[in-house]
């Protein structure tokens, strides 16, 4: 347990060392309960190896013995070479909100800006099956909120992706993974994860070698809920994992927000049920900001020309068709399209598909 000083205390080092052997949360909990202190596990390893073996099993015991005899330093240099910072439950960096939950992770493997753990955090989660216009709204809300608060989400396609990319545009984001850093799931979000690591923080309770397993995702959801002051559920079907996240948040006493959906809209069944039960109906970022007493500081909008103002005044919050704008402004479509593109670039409107344009707030 000697060697290079990583800035970890001896408890932290011992904790990281123990955590590297078994992905089983219950066994680690029992081990710590028996020894009170993780360092004691290493210190009294040979003396009480029978007891330890009784908890973790023979195979893990042998692995621990081999590692301890080798000095166990490879572990820390391996993490350091992968730029992984371990934040244990003994660290000052470990967020208090997370510590307060029923079964907080012992070690958070982090890549990116670890100081974000101490900032105020808010989770935005959604299903993989999310309507395109909801994705757009999610991205926008995440972007607006991220100017004041760090956005926490997963890494799945759809809702999570929209939340993360919106947040990265406005501020910082934390992505909580259900697998170790040697893996990426879904593969298509590899670039997004890179971006999160570069401009935010990626967190996992699993050692790098742990692949994505189905049963890890619900466990991961407790961290998303645990890290955050509140959770916004943007979409979710009958069996969506977002319901689990919302359930954890409710259990932990955090605020739950959800988008309302039309009757019969399958991708939003879960949201409507949450609203019925305990979630706050949410349409925009102000609904959330007011609940937390956050001031959303608007970025100074770029000045518009008179033509742009005119065109913008004819675009509603619900998407407006190009020909409708043309008819109302009396402009030809050919003259109109450059103006619309400029407004798009100035982030005043978005293309909603089918030649329809929606006003951004």
């Amino acid at each position: 347990m000697r060697g290079e000083d990583m800035g970890y205390t001896k408890e932290e080092k011992a904790m990281i060392w123990i955590d590297s052997f078994s992905p089983d949360y219950a066994k680690k909990a029992r081990l710590l309960q028996a020894f009170r202190d993780p360092y004691a596990v290493a210190e009294q390893f040979f003396a009480r190896s029978e007891e330890i073996g009784g908890i973790v099993g023979e195979r893990v015991l042998e692995e621990m013995r081999a590692s301890l005899e080798g000095g166990a330093n490879e572990l820390f240099s391996a993490y350091r070479s992968q730029n992984i910072v371990c934040v244990t439950c003994f660290s000052a960096l470990y967020p208090d909100l997370l510590r307060a939950i029923e079964n907080p992770p012992f070690v958070l493997y982090c890549k990116g800006d670890v100081s974000l753990l101490q900032e105020r955090k808010f989770a935005v989660v959604g299903s993989r099956r999310t309507l395109a216009n909801v994705l757009q709204r999610t991205e926008r809300i995440a972007e607006e909120l991220s100017r004041a608060i760090v956005i926490v989400s997963g890494l799945a396609d759809g809702g999570d992706t929209a939340a993360l990319s919106g947040a990265l545009r406005g501020g910082k984001a934390i992505s909580v993974l259900a697998f170790g850093f040697s893996h990426v799931y879904p593969e298509s979000n590899r670039a997004l994860l890179e971006k999160v690591i570069k401009n935010g923080l990626a967190v996992s309770e699993y050692v790098p070698s742990q692949p994505a397993m189905k049963y890890n995702f619900p466990a991961r959801n407790r961290i998303i809920a645990g890290l955050s002051e509140g959770v916004l559920v943007v979409s979710g079907g009958e069996k969506s994992g977002t319901r689990i996240t919302a359930g954890y948040a409710y259990d932990y006493g955090r605020d739950v927000f959800a988008f309302p959906y039309n009757i019969g809209e399958e991708t939003g069944v879960c949201c409507n049920r949450l609203i019925k039960d305990y979630a706050k109906l949410t349409e925009n970022s102000v609904d959330i900001a007011s609940a937390f007493g956050i001031n959303l500081t608007e970025k100074e909008p770029e000045p518009l020309t008179r033509t742009e103002e005119l065109v913008l005044s004819h675009i509603g919050a619900s998407p407006t068709h190009t020909s409708e704008i043309a008819a109302k402004t009396g402009m030809k479509e050919a003259e109109l399209s450059p103006v619309l593109m400029l407004l798009c670039m100035k982030k005043r409107i978005v293309s909603c598909g089918g030649n329809r344009w929606g006003k951004v707030k």
């Binding site: 993989r128 099956r129 999310t130 309507l131 395109a132 994705l135 396609d157 759809g158 992706t161 879904p186 298509s188 809209e265 399958e266 991708t267 998407p319 068709h321 190009t322 020909s323 409708e324 043309a326 008819a327 479509e333 050919a334 003259e335 399209s337 450059p338 103006v339 619309l340 593109m341 400029l342 798009c344 670039m345 982030k347 293309s351 909603c352 598909g353 089918g354 030649n355 329809r356």
Partner: protein
């Protein structure tokens, strides 16, 4: 006795001179046809025998040897029937006239009538270049042959007419030469005036045709993508005689020529998505036939529901899109066909088709949309300059108030824009054909334009390779506006035609 009669064989779009040599010898009656004939050529024996008999001539009861020289080229089809029949008549001295310098083409019916053959136009053009001046062809092919000046073409309805013409008993009049009238006969079934609304898509079509850009129409099912595409030939400039002749040659070889003789309307080809690579690019077991991309030469190739086509078929389009020609190599030899077409493709925005729809909800996951779109490869999309959305919205009331423009009006503007390009490049080149050199010379951007372009790349997440595409399209839009320089609004409009890049 021996006789020699000239004919021509088709090799790709070229004609190759073939001499039908006939020798009659004493011996057991037999008929030998040599010179690598295929089944259709071999069967000519039966047609020639019956045609001669039913035209009141004699088929000799001797040992007949027919050689189609040069003997090492494979001969296909039924166009040698007439030459073989005339050769036998001459060898048996039933016909004494001199047939030197006359080229015979045509298929015989059992009653002696002459049937049309494919490829008359390219054969005549090659024969003319080889110095032949006189031709006897089936009357059904006369219209096609009438556009070539400087040759004498005699169109016979049957073998008797041909023989009487040669012997001087009843000479046929030469087929009169017709002048090509540009753009007067061409009629297109689809007119822009019938397409209600869709102003954005219509404008994009006009830009695409003006600059010779390929176009991709993205829209939910049943929004009129196909109808819009069918309007494209009608707003393209009229074909010149040279262009019409090229197209006619290809269609003649493919055997799909109508009765009009020359193709004076721009072709519109829409192969089904089950089309194979060979049917698309050309091929065949021995004689190579042109594929859909060559049949669309100087016209439009429309790929409806592009992601449904076989990947390999789509990828095969990349090289001809770049070069304007396709070289097909087969066991029978390599043949180059022109394939300078405008590509118009259509696709749904997502698997369920409702992405961006006003009244229906899209239920596709992002992964499903990505998978659907990845069926069209980046390099192919790279060759499509303009991507535009076709609406699902019905604006009947708006459309009723607005007066729709006719194709003829759009065409006049297109021709003006093309004229500007012709002057600039001093060739029939269009803006989409510009290389790096021309881009540098003709598409200088001032600082304001550069800034706009950079800003659009940053905020709209465009791919880097879209840059030169955008500039080319902006050049076309500037030409349409009659502006010598590219202005910011031209750049912005061009950027708006990158829908595919910044969707989802």
């Amino acid at each position: 006795m021996l006789s020699k009669v000239m004919s021509f064989a088709l090799s790709g779009l070229e004609g190759v001179p073939v001499t039908a040599e006939t020798d009659i010898n004493n011996g057991l009656p037999s008929y030998e046809l040599v010179g690598l004939p295929d089944a259709a050529v071999k069967e000519s024996r039966e047609r020639v025998r019956s045609a001669l008999k039913n035209s009141g001539r004699k088929f000799p009861l001797s040992k007949i040897t027919v050689n189609l020289a040069p003997a090492d080229i494979k001969k296909e089809g039924s166009a040698f029937d007439l030459a073989i029949a005339v050769g036998i008549l001459k060898a048996t001295e039933q016909l004494k006239a001199d047939c030197g310098g006359v080229v015979f083409l045509g298929e015989l019916a059992l009653d002696g009538a002459l049937r049309a053959v494919s490829g008359i136009l390219p054969l005549l053009i090659s024969a003319k270049a080889a110095g032949y001046k006189k031709f006897v062809i089936p009357a059904e092919n006369a219209a096609e042959a009438s556009y070539i000046e400087g040759i004498e073409v005699y169109a016979a309805n049957n073998l008797t007419q041909a023989i009487d013409h040669l012997s001087g008993l009843n000479p046929l009049p030469a087929v009169p030469v017709r002048a090509y009238e540009r753009g007067t006969k061409g009629e297109y079934k689809f007119d822009m005036a019938y397409v209600k609304g869709q102003a954005t898509a219509k404008r994009a079509l006009e830009v695409a045709v003006s600059g010779g850009h390929n176009i991709l129409l993205i829209g939910p099912p049943g929004t009129g993508k196909t109808m819009l595409a069918r309007c494209i030939p009608g707003i393209m400039p009229d074909m010149t005689f040279e262009e019409a002749l090229e197209v006619t040659k290809i269609h003649s070889v493919a055997g799909i020529l109508g009765s009009g003789g020359i193709v004076d309307v721009r072709p519109f080809r829409s192969p089904h998505h089950t089309a194979t690579t060979v049917s698309m690019c050309g091929g065949g077991t021995r004689a190579v036939k042109p594929g859909e991309i060559s049949l669309a030469h100087h016209g439009v190739l429309f790929l409806d529901e592009m992601p449904e086509y076989h990947r390999s078929t789509l990828e095969a389009l990349r090289q001809p899109l770049e070069d304007g020609v396709i070289t097909v190599t087969r066991s029978g030899g390599a043949v180059t066909f022109p394939a300078n077409f405008m590509l118009c493709a259509s696709m749904n925005p997502c698997p369920c088709g409702n992405y961006g729809s006003a009244d229906r909800v899209c239920t596709c996951t992002p992964a499903a949309i990505r998978k659907y779109r990845s069926r069209v490869s980046g390099p192919l999309l790279d060759r499509i300059d303009i991507q535009v959305e076709v609406d699902s919205v019905k604006y009947d009331d708006l459309a009723a108030a607005a007066l729709e423009e006719s194709s003829a009006a759009v065409k006049r503007r297109v021709e003006r824009a093309r004229e500007i390009q012709r002057e600039r490049f001093n060739s029939p080149m269009t803006n989409s054909d510009m290389g790096e050199k021309e881009l540098k010379a003709c598409c200088a951007l001032d600082k304001e334009c550069e800034d706009i372009l950079r800003m659009s790349f940053e905020s709209l997440k465009l791919s880097a390779r879209a840059r030169s595409r955008i500039i080319k399209v902006a050049r076309t839009i500037a030409d349409m506006a009659g502006s010598a320089n590219i202005r910011p609004e031209h750049i912005l409009e061009a950027v708006s035609y990158r829908k595919y890049d910044n969707m989802a």
